[in-house]
Amino acid sequence: MSATLLAVQTLNGLQLGILLFLIAAGLTLVFGVMDFINLAHGVQYMLGAYLAVTGYSLTGTFWGALLFGMLGALVIGLVLELLVFRHLYDRDHLDQVLATFGIILFLNEAVRTVWGSTPLTLPMPDLLSGSFELMDGLLYPVYRIALIVAGLIVAAVLYILVTRTRAGMLVRAGATNAPMVSALGVDIRRLFMLVFGFGTMLAGFAGILAAPILVVEPGMGDNLLILAFVVIVIGGIGSIRGAFIAALIVGLVDTLGRGFATDIAKLLMSPSAANSVGPAIASMLIYLLMAAVLFFRPTGLFPARGG
């Protein structure tokens, strides 16, 4: 394997990592910061993508789709918050799991009912549809660069929002003791609602950004949800920084694993055996990684301070 190949694969890994971070960001916010397990995060990601597809058919531009998708995701998030989530903040984690599981079932089916089962697509914006040659015979779409930039911006904004602003402090405080925050003169419910809406919008945002390179189909968020959980758990729940770094690590491990596991296995065993062992290992790799990380650091790489 040549050095170029390794370099390109590393880039691929980092880029997958950023994509994972985009998806995990809203989840960390709501889970880590508000201590709320929102399994519906995955379907909210899906909704973002679907709304964008509709937005595209209405406006005919990617940017219109983006706006429509994000606003739509926000509105749906706020409605859900009002109807369901706000009654669950001070409940057991398992109650939250059960209720949000119900929401997954509902929204997956609702999307299928509204948009049909056939996968859909969202075209890339013209502005970002160029590409350049990464290595001989392989182009790298500008869109993916934009994706990386978006991921970095989201990471920075979130980090500052949570750790440096008063709203961030209040939300963190509210996660551990909401009645007390309220008794000190802050309308914590409204704050939670806003944060939740913001989290939903982030999920939707990720869905929209992913739509031009990934499939838009019912249930598209289900497996991603698990990946996002893997990311935030490795990173340490409640830590934006942790989620970011963990996302990169997961992206790298996964990509490099797929890139090289079989080749490495071939050094150790017969090609046909390697062909069955290599991919199996590659699929398990991130789970192995997670188990290993948690074995040595039971609260993730960057346990949230004090949490």
Binding site: R91, L105, F106, L107, S276, V277, L294
Partner: protein, 333 residues
């Protein structure tokens, strides 16, 4: 993670069944078993053999749910990889059958051994973590089991493995008869329930429940919760393994799909739906989950549009799960 004070008060009232709850528990279980026991004759009269088959499935998942309830409801160990044991149990039977070993005297010990061993190893690692980290690390092990099964080409891989017969008991294939098999499954369910019940009420059970509330307190009186949790985890794993072995017999088929994370999630939902800290509740939870799925699907292809909100309603208004609703008042009233 720091729980909010509110959730602390909640756990304050959710863990230990007080005396009146205990008797309600018994009543619910007794009614459930009675209904199960009466079902085959009734089905016979109604000439609907499908009921019997469906009830077998319900009971098998009830066993798995009871086993999960033991560690989840009483030890706060939310295993998100519990379906792995269903799968391991099923594959133990399937693979042995593939090699010509049909007898329960072989398959049962092997199932218990395989599941116990897997639980001991993964549990030893997982139990170093807590809370959501535990949820995720058990998921990780579940996924490893899943991916291993999908790559087992020799045993059908993802396509699964058909078992061309049923487990024999001392060489006799009595399980081939559906009614006999039915009562064997019912017997196993009752046995699982009683075992879990006895364990919960024992010294061991008290330690398990104490550890759920404050680990620090237990250490301070000289108890290391780790080993108790591990043993509970292993017991639960073996129990779920038995459910898996039964499932393999009921379906004559083994598939990696038995251990997908969706299935693990469904098991958690069954337990929570039935009510945490209630073993009989888990039976009710498993039954209502499967029955609802089945019945709603009869009405519309889009049954999830109803089922999903129904779950949400149970959480919002039936605080404490279905058994709490059945019993009338909320358990923290």
């Amino acid at each position: 993670m720091t729980a909010s004070p509110l959730s602390t008060t909640e756990s304050a009232t959710s863990a230990v069944p007080a005396a009146p709850r205990r008797s309600r528990e018994t009543v619910i279980a007794a009614v459930a078993f009675l209904l199960f026991a009466l079902l085959p004759p009734v089905a016979m009269v109604m000439e609907d053999t499908f009921f019997v088959f469906f009830a077998i499935r319900v009971m098998i998942f009830a066993i798995a749910a009871v086993s999960l309830s033991l560690i989840l409801g009483f030890g706060a160990l939310v295993s998100f990889g519990h379906a792995a044991y269903l799968g391991l149990g099923a594959y133990s039977v399937g693979i042995l059958a593939e090699h010509g070993y049909w007898d329960v005297t072989i398959s049962l010990p092997v199932t218990l051994l395989v599941c116990g061993l897997f639980a001991a190893i993964t549990g030893a690692i997982s139990l170093k973590t807590r809370g959501v980290y535990f949820i995720m690390i058990t998921l990780a092990f579940g996924q490893m089991a899943y991916y291993t099964a999908t790559s087992l080409s020799a045993y059908g891989g993802d396509d699964g493995l058909t078992i061309w017969g049923r487990t024999e008991i001392f060489g006799a294939s009595v399980l081939g008869d559906r009614t006999t098999f039915y009562y064997v499954v019912l017997g196993m369910l009752m046995l699982s329930y009683v075992i879990a019940r006895v364990i919960v009420a024992s010294r061991f059970g008290r330690v398990l429940q104490g550890a759920k509330q404050s680990e620090m307190r237990l250490r301070a009186v000289g108890i290391d919760p780790y080993w108790y949790r591990l043993v509970a985890y292993v017991i639960a794993g073996m129990m779920a393994g038995v459910a898996g072995a039964l499932l393999a017999n009921a379906t004559n088929f083994v598939s990696p799909a038995y251990m997908s994370w969706h299935r693990s999630g469904e098991l958690i939902v069954m337990v929570v739906l039935g009510g945490l800290g209630s073993l009989a509740g888990s039976i009710v939870g498993a039954a209502s989950f499967l029955i609802l799925e089945e019945v709603l699907a009869l009405f519309t292809e889009h049954w999830r549009l109803i089922f999903g909100p129904l779950l949400v309603l149970v959480v919002l208004f039936g605080k404490g799960g279905l058994t709490a609703m059945l019993g009338g008042g909320r358990k923290n009233g």
